[in-house]
């Protein structure tokens, strides 16, 4: 607990308390980790019907000005020029050592206005990072985190539940695309994105509108879901969590994020990423399934191949969707699907696990159409 600094609250904090949410300190924010139904029920709602998450703690940065797109091309490894207006991309900031400063979503709104969505825990670091990179570009960088509340509705029923109250035709918003529109009269960005592996939307609205929007969506049948379920859902879908799968020391290539990098363009940190590839750090992120009972490997658990320590677990849990104990971890890149490793579940005790393909579970999430 960071008691020296006052913990921040989203506009929905009182609502979470009213709903019986168990509140924890998450990256300096007072956030619910679960509601009274529990993580497994919340997980089930999202997978089978529809869940609602308050993700207002996420940070936002506006980049604007004449050189917006040129600057974004330099700022992140993903090709922004090829994106259409109204398109979203998943990307990251690369540091000078081939590692990752943070992962992010980029919203290509207009030629002179782009929105970045970043992790709550990294807001100050990221704003400083983007401002430092912007030197020499004719752009303005603005921390807009206080301008937005963010609510994510996720699950196979999300579209049909929201559509009657939406000012836009939701089925026309492709995966990883967004529009500005209204839901129940509340204006904001409607984005077909998420962090659960299910279809759904993320709404970026004025903080004052968060409570009425939240209550309307609950009234329509979405069930509140909190950080515990969110982590379990994203883990099954094998989405990265900054601080677990990726950090300042992991390269996007090792993490399996080569697809976000356009090596044909220049971007900050490119040389370091290339250098790390050539030196071949020799490790990669891989999925595993426990083939023996004994416990659940967790973040930081060691992985052994024979009598050699060979890697580390980034996230582990029992996947309710496939009813198996699974984990992600960094291991030598020679490890192939079907290979057996030993993984520590507590000091001195290991169990056998088998390398398997990822994601562990594929939900209702749409795939991005090839342009």
């Amino acid at each position: 607990m960071s008691d020296s600094k006052e913990l921040k609250k989203t506009p929905l904090y009182e609502e979470h308390v009213r709903l019986g949410g168990k509140i924890v300190d998450f990256a300096g924010w007072l956030m619910p980790i679960q509601y009274p139904d529990g993580i497994l029920k919340e997980h089930e709602h999202v997978r089978k019907t529809c869940g609602l998450f308050d993700v207002s703690h996420m940070g936002e940065i506006w980049i604007s000005g004449p050189q917006t797109l040129e600057f974004c091309e330099y700022l992140i490894p993903t090709n922004v020029t090829k994106m259409k207006f109204g398109e979203v991309c998943y990307s990251c900031f690369c540091n000078n050592e081939g590692g990752i400063v943070d992962d992010l979503l980029l919203y290509k709104k207009e030629e002179k206005r782009v929105l970045l969505v970043i992790n709550a825990s990294n807001i100050d670091k990221d704003v400083a990072w983007v401002k430092a990179r912007a030197e020499g570009f004719d752009v303005a960088v603005e921390n807009a985190s206080a301008e937005f509340a963010q609510i994510a509705i996720q699950g196979p029923d999300a579209e049909k539940l929201v559509q009657p109250y939406a000012s836009v035709v939701l089925c026309e918003i492709d995966f990883y695309h967004f529009v500005v529109g209204r839901v129940n009269g509340i204006e904001g960005i409607i984005s077909r994105t998420g962090y659960t592996g299910e279809d759904g939307f993320e709404f970026y609205v004025n903080p004052d509108a968060a409570l009425p929007l939240w209550r309307k969506l609950i009234e329509l049948g979405a069930k509140p879901a909190a950080l515990g379920a969110r982590d379990l859902l994203r883990f099954e879908a094998c989405y990265m969590l900054y601080g677990n799968e990726i950090d300042a020391t992991t390269s996007p290539v090792e993490a399996g994020l080569k697809w976000i990098i356009d090596f044909d363009k220049n971007f900050f940190g490119k040389e370091a990423v290339l250098r790390k590839m050539e030196q071949s750090s020799g490790r990669k992120l891989k999925g595993f399934e426990a083939v023996e009972k004994g416990g659940i490997p967790r973040h930081g658990s060691k992985i052994w191949i024979g009598d050699k320590e060979a890697g580390v677990v980034t996230t582990g849990n029992k996947s309710p969707s496939i009813d198996k104990i699974v984990f992600l971890g960094y291991v030598p890149s020679t490890v192939k699907n079907g290979d057996i490793v030993d993984v520590e579940i507590r000091p001195g005790k290991t169990i056998k696990a088998k390398a398997i393909k990822t994601p562990f579970y594929r939900g209702s999430v749409k795939t991005k159409k090839k342009s």
């Binding site: 529990g38 497994l40 515990g228 379990l232 416990g295 659940i296 967790r298 029992k318 104990i325 507590r346």
Partner: protein, 123 residues
């Protein structure tokens, strides 16, 4: 008679047989239990030793043996349905039955009233 430990186990003592589980309070703190690593029948344990570990979707928790004894029976149902601990922590969610060696150890545990006071003070 049922008594509780400071580490949130409950013990129901009938003669020299002790049925052991985790308290309703502990169940709430732990959240959804998804795996129970049960001890083997016949295992001898001293008071305070690790009896087993329970894994929730959030974390792992150790269950400590409240009394010295030998594992007589384990709740096999927990292998496939560990969620019973959440549904019925102090009845169907029992973990082991122990044949104890020293009934006087039971005296040192808290009765329900004392345990509730203990929990309230440690919120």
């Amino acid at each position: 008679m049922k008594k509780y430990t400071k580490t949130h186990e409950w013990v129901l003592l009938q003669g020299m047989e002790a049925t052991i589980g985790i308290s309703q309070h502990a169940q709430e703190l732990l959240g959804d239990v998804v795996y129970a690593d049960l001890p083997s029948v016949g295992k001898s344990l001293k008071k305070g030793e690790i009896l087993c570990s329970l894994e929730s979707v959030k974390a792992a928790a150790e269950v400590f043996c409240p009394l010295t004894g030998t594992v007589k029976e384990i709740n096999e149902t927990l292998n496939d349905n560990p969620e019973i601990i959440n549904q019925s922590a102090e009845a169907d969610g029992w973990i082991v039955r122990l044949t104890i060696t020293d009934a006087s150890e039971f005296e040192g545990l808290m009765d329900e009233g004392a345990y509730q006071t203990f929990c309230a003070a440690h919120q």
